[in-house]
Symmetry: C2
Subunit: 596 residues, 2 copies
Amino acid sequence: MSYTAPLKDMLFDIEHLARIDQVSQMPGFEDAGLETAQAVLEECAKLNEGVIAPLNFEGDKNPSSFKDGVVTTTPGFKDAFKQYAEGGWQGLQHPVDFGGQGLPKTIGAACGEILNSANMSFALCPLLTDGAIEALITAGSDELKAIYLEKLVSGQWTGTMNLTEPQAGSDLAAVRSRAEPQPDGSYKVFGTKIFITYGEHDMAENIVHLVLARVTGAPEGVKGISLFVVPKFLVNKAGTLGDRNDVHCVSIEHKMGIKASPTAVLQYGDHGGATAYLVGQENRGLEYMFIMMNAARYAVGVQGIAIAERAYQKAVGYAKDRVQSRPVDGSMSAAAPIIHHPDVKRMLMTMRASTEGCRAMASVAAAAYDAAHHHPDAEVRKQNAAFYEFLVPLVKGYSTEMSLEVTSLGVQVHGGMGFIEETGAAQYYRDAKILTIYEGTTAIQANDLVGRKTARDGGTGAKAIAAQIEKTEAELAKRDSANAKAVHQRLKAAREAFVDVVDFIAANTRSNPNAAFAGSVPYLMLAGNLMAGWQLARSLLVAEELSAKGQDVAFMQAKITTARFYADHILSRVPGTRDAIVDGADAVTALAIESF
Amino acid sequence: MSYTAPLKDMLFDIEHLARIDQVSQMPGFEDAGLETAQAVLEECAKLNEGVIAPLNFEGDKNPSSFKDGVVTTTPGFKDAFKQYAEGGWQGLQHPVDFGGQGLPKTIGAACGEILNSANMSFALCPLLTDGAIEALITAGSDELKAIYLEKLVSGQWTGTMNLTEPQAGSDLAAVRSRAEPQPDGSYKVFGTKIFITYGEHDMAENIVHLVLARVTGAPEGVKGISLFVVPKFLVNKAGTLGDRNDVHCVSIEHKMGIKASPTAVLQYGDHGGATAYLVGQENRGLEYMFIMMNAARYAVGVQGIAIAERAYQKAVGYAKDRVQSRPVDGSMSAAAPIIHHPDVKRMLMTMRASTEGCRAMASVAAAAYDAAHHHPDAEVRKQNAAFYEFLVPLVKGYSTEMSLEVTSLGVQVHGGMGFIEETGAAQYYRDAKILTIYEGTTAIQANDLVGRKTARDGGTGAKAIAAQIEKTEAELAKRDSANAKAVHQRLKAAREAFVDVVDFIAANTRSNPNAAFAGSVPYLMLAGNLMAGWQLARSLLVAEELSAKGQDVAFMQAKITTARFYADHILSRVPGTRDAIVDGADAVTALAIESF
């Protein structure tokens, strides 16, 4: 169950699709060129392959445990996290001012994939910490920043996101936790939060909870929610740890997957109130929380890619090793490794193409994020921000839904052995299922795509992306190869279907919201499919050129074949999905509730 | 986590699609009309809802355990199996001559679904016993029949199928277990069998293992495999139990799902040889085993439908109960049960339509089986046999692949709660994954579909079914409703795509087998999708008529909406799948093994 980071694929995307040469021209990223990317990724691979990946299966067998308010993580996790923190990995993308390395997301996202492939349960702790850092940087007072940021960036302390309550899952308007202002400017928080990832653990000295709660007298609904910092241990003026705060873990969940990652129920204020510090202004909590959420959503999309990659590697290993039956084409006279059977190849190619497609999409999205924040030209920043924001629900929703199919195929390639836990393929299948749920279910991503990202501007932004895709089509049209022609045909059909759907969504979201939202998740799947297929079409264009120049021919040919496979087998789903959205809305909503 | 058998849906299919009125005109089935079906299903529902279903979750929490060669099943299983046997359920479809009830498969299949919805792990024991009974009836000597059949049919003893060995999974040619002839006409069997479902347990007095092995000196490959009966306890002349035979359980597997069902490693002959009795003739074992396998494959398809139904019921219950967010259409001023949200409805409708479609297909297949065995006219028997045999890989392959999607949606509807094991939805997701693997993986079903069921007759049989579908299209064309028109359009497009693919498969299987088999699983999915969609189109025709007559209008309208949903959202996938098969073969096989 070893893991090898796919550095070559990652660097191909970073160089040719995300165009790190352009990123490294932006202020602050001068040193972040391709060589830096390669050096960082190699270092990252080393730690993850050697230290963190080997703990993944152990974490499933021997998960985090809870006793008397204390959570003990899987043996080895604490030490691995120490190495992770000491290596400076927590601070990779964070500002140099707070001890970070200030690298672009274009590089950071690939490191995130490596970490999550190695060990998704482990990776959740840094993932949530990143979110807490982002929120504090954006909205925290100078005092809060001074107290918390360096410790979080260094990995000495970790962070959490406290949104969910038993009655408030997708619906944050229903949050009931309350905050009472204190004379000294602090607050006392009371309430119960559930599903808090790494809400309690033994890997760091302190845990910094970012908590949504309502200040006494605040308005109903989402407009009355504020964001607070609630440290597990209070912090003295000198920065040393003080008293234990009134936030306590009362249990952790018994989950289907990501078992090593403790999912805590946290009780605030049972002994007089948990001391809390307001982040930013009162009643603007949701806005700040969205900063964490958006970073986290992108990161969860990367988790989908990461677990798909790990499942793919495992399946390839088994398929090359397991001997069973002769090839159907009579090419061998004895039983062969099952990778020689067409359907096994089809499964592996589906896993590979899906994973590479989503990775390419995420890599391009990361570059857009970097440009949105660092490009000197405001107009370019704006365009890139719009592009990135359109892609976030797709990276999150499509990559994670894709990971369900890929991890299922991963079990399938193993046959009966796949169903046996000791084999390890089943763990990826179980682990992956959380990805379409947390940080906003696929439906919540799709609502965002329909409402904020498509209908709000009448589909203009979406169509601007379609126009970019047409440019890739034009490039493909200039090529003579059968592969380019086939990919061109599928990409064009998919882009046209996308435009139809954008028109449908833009026309219906206000006038007939049931029709628009009946197609929301299919629209997300269609759009994600198209974006991934588009990026693979771009990778085919590059790979054909480089292959013709004799550069790394086998690798480039594999890129071409993978793009072709994606187009024929996955992008070809798009027109059917279009039909389901445009023609199928009535059938979604027609059945009376009583008839279910 | 209660379960209510969907009797009304089942009886609708049995009456209107499987046409039990025609089945009950066949010799031997005179008493098996609709009233019998209803009475039997009601009785079946009672036992399963009340006794067997409540043990399902417990079986997952407290699975079968192994110690010193002994397997102890989940508390309650033994007593439930006693009630199952005493109720005569094991003998439902078996001949009256051996103590069975001789009911048609048209009724038996529905009972099988109920049992598997109630408790799939439990149901595996009777499922395997059915297979052993079938094999003995078809190929056993009169002596073997006399000794074993009544005890198996009564449920006093249970049966197993022993095919797999560590090196012989899908590839039975690699079976190495050997059988040495003894002077008294019996054999001694030696070898290791793995993945033996209920290979050891405490629910019955004796276990009758049906075992594939090679007689000393037999030819290589599948032509040298014979089938043996190996009882756990030898049986004395008087029918009483004698000595313990030399077959021993050495361990059971630690699996992702169906945990209550013990999956045994059986060691034969470590203490001098396991006493074995030849079934039929030497070297014809595979042929007999296929009798068991075909019955079992159909039954596993029904397991897919069953677990999908259970997951659907659970998801509907949660969606009606869980309150979260206001409806998007502004129809309610407060947060509503989530079933009011379009995407939740879309998920539930997908689950419902998939399940109903596969159930309808399986029901029609069961009636074809009955006609193939009981119709007085040889030509009709032959036609029905061909139709049934075409459907078996689809019932097995498509219904089980569908169950993966449905159980995944089942978790998704529950949001974060779905990932918590105590909720129960995750169990269905974990349990279902075995269904696409055992009794022949989806790829093995697809090989059967491509080779024996399509290419062998040049696609003639497949096209005869397409011609039947055209008749349904003609009926739909006569209807004025928007629903009928929409379903007509999708069914026609799907049938045309099917014919294209049949031509492609027929043209390539011999000349370019890699191309044909690269599309084998997509072809299976396409064909299964079409068959299920066709049966739902037929159900729409019936439901429109009955609804117009004022008969059970809400139920009939739900049937119509479900058929429409299936057509728009699932059948609409077919043309894309056609493209992947016909245009996408090269991309499957192009990548060199070294490039994976």
